[in-house]
């Protein structure tokens, strides 16, 4: 590929009180769906704000669609569609007015606006509600309207900040579908942030795990999973857990041991889980641990996340 859709070099954003981003780099190929995964406060929204020209970076540079986000912000703005983390809709307008005014801001002609509105309303299935006031919409309908608004101006690159936050499974699956369709049929590049592993796994060609304002791991979902020790034994037990973890960490075939803070599950990454299962059970017994449950698990993106950030997603 010639130019990258999005490239960021050592972005930093420093506030008086806190550092939101430090040394974050990112590359997104055209026509990819890229998911930024990270716990609360990791810097996902800050990254998106910089890339969408809402915030100037304190350091580093970024280009979107080949244009510098600071020097050529106007060119960037013409080529992107954005939805924000929180719902940003004028409650006193109807859905149609929201879309129409948005089109006017981008100087689309009347005919084009009408065409786009009818096409998008069909895509996000808001035909019945589009002439109603936004204040009568449910959360899912608002999200879908926002997605339609982000697409009104036929962007090359779409930025979605937690597009399915707070939605039920059905709405979520719907939004995933729209995003896939757009990506496949309209060659749209998508950068989204999410808290949901399933979302990243279901949608993204590439995933970036971000924590404390910097990129800690990056790759395809399968590649990220493969990059953390090969296989996984998950154990639930009671006894002197700390001592047990210390002991098995020293074993040559154990690559890493994590403990989920909330559920207390111990995850033991080993070279070969079937062969090592018995060893682990024996170690537990000789270290005074009672094994309540033990299973061989295929590592998931969630395991990769835990591995790289040292914490579960919802316990920041």
């Amino acid at each position: 590929m010639t130019t990258l859709a999005i490239e960021a070099h050592s972005l930093g954003k420093h506030y008086k009180e806190a550092t939101a981003l430090s040394d974050l780099s990112l590359q997104v190929e055209p026509q990819q769906i890229y998911a930024l995964l990270g716990p609360n406060g990791a810097g996902k929204t800050t990254t998106l704000s910089i890339l969408t020209t809402l915030l100037p970076p304190s350091s580093g540079t970024a280009r979107v669609a080949g244009f510098d986000v600071v020097q050529q912000a106007h060119e960037v703005r013409r080529r992107i569609g954005v939805t924000f983390q929180e719902i940003v809709l004028d409650r006193d307008l109807t859905g149609r007015q929201v879309l129409d005014i948005h089109g006017q801001l981008y100087r689309l002609g009347k005919a084009e606006r009408t065409r786009q509105i009818s096409e998008l309303v069909a895509l996000v299935q808001l035909e019945d509600a589009i002439d109603r006031g936004v204040k009568t919409y449910s959360g899912g309908m608002k999200r879908r309207l926002e997605l339609a608004r982000g697409l009104m101006t036929k962007p090359e690159i779409l930025f979605l900040d937690e597009p399915t936050q707070g939605l039920d499974p059905q709405n979520r699956a719907g939004i995933w579908d729209y995003i896939r369709t757009l990506n496949r049929e309209h060659n749209l590049t998508v950068l989204l942030t999410t808290h949901y592993m399933e979302e990243a796994e279901a949608l993204a060609h590439r995933v970036g795990i971000i924590d404390h304002g910097t990129m800690v791991a990056e790759g395809t979902p399968a590649g990220l999973v493969a990059s953390i020790g090969t296989e996984l034994i998950r154990m639930q037990g009671s006894g002197d857990t700390a001592h047990f973890i210390n002991t098995i960490t020293t074993l040559p075939f154990v690559l890493r041991v994590d403990q989920d803070q909330q559920q207390g599950a111990i995850q033991i990454y080993v070279d070969n889980s079937t062969r090592r299962l018995l060893d682990v059970v024996q170690m537990a017994g000789s270290n005074g641990m009672r094994v309540d449950d033990i299973s061989i698990a295929r590592p998931t993106l969630g395991d990769a996340f835990l591995h790289y950030t040292g914490r579960g997603l919802r316990d920041s």
Binding site: L55, R77, I80, E86, V88, D92
Partner: protein
Amino acid sequence: MYATYVIWAKHMHKFSRSTEEAIGLALQSVMWVVLFGVGMRGLVGDVGGNDYMSYMLPGIIALSALGGAVGGGLILLDERLRGITKEYLVAPIPRLSILLGNAASTATKALFQALLMLLVGLLMGARLAGNPAGWLAALVLVALFALGFSGLALAIAAQSRSIMGYHGMIFLFNLPILFASNALYPLDVLPTWMQVVVLFNPTTYLIDATRALAFGTPATLPLLLSAAVVLGLALGGVGLAYVSFQNSLQRTM
């Protein structure tokens, strides 16, 4: 600056749909003129060779423009707090057009209110000067004045973190602007120190010019100076709003 028009039109559309706001604004205007005008007229009689109704009408119109400016700032603040400004900020439009759109809708509402007050005032016995060109000039000045003060209100709204904080700041400058002016009493009845204060208040110039242009009260200040002050206020207000707004964009809300 097409975006200015789009944002202005959106605000006007919302205004026209919000009967509450429109009726509130209209009633407010009528009440000011009727209650204040009638009460003070009984007390004062004629001022500056004209009846008191004609005399104080420009003052309460200026006051209502101030109220309008406060409301305009509130709209920006509300859009900021709810994140709606972000939709404008990622769009390929000049940042200034966001402010101008807001200030323009504020000035339009102020003009609408001024006309209404004028109408009620005329019904209550105020007498216009003979020259319609003067009326027009006065309206332009009122619109510029509203633009200037909505700029100041926007400058505050761009930095405020809450509606309460905004009102607190606004209150600080709103009251003195009315009372430390010639809105209610002629300049020459004031002690010298107060006259000096009053001459630093741009409201004084608007009111003096409006009285002269629309109601035929002899001007006590040079007309051209008054016009220049009001124009300066408009430019300064918008400039200040722009600087404050740009500054607020360095961080997220």
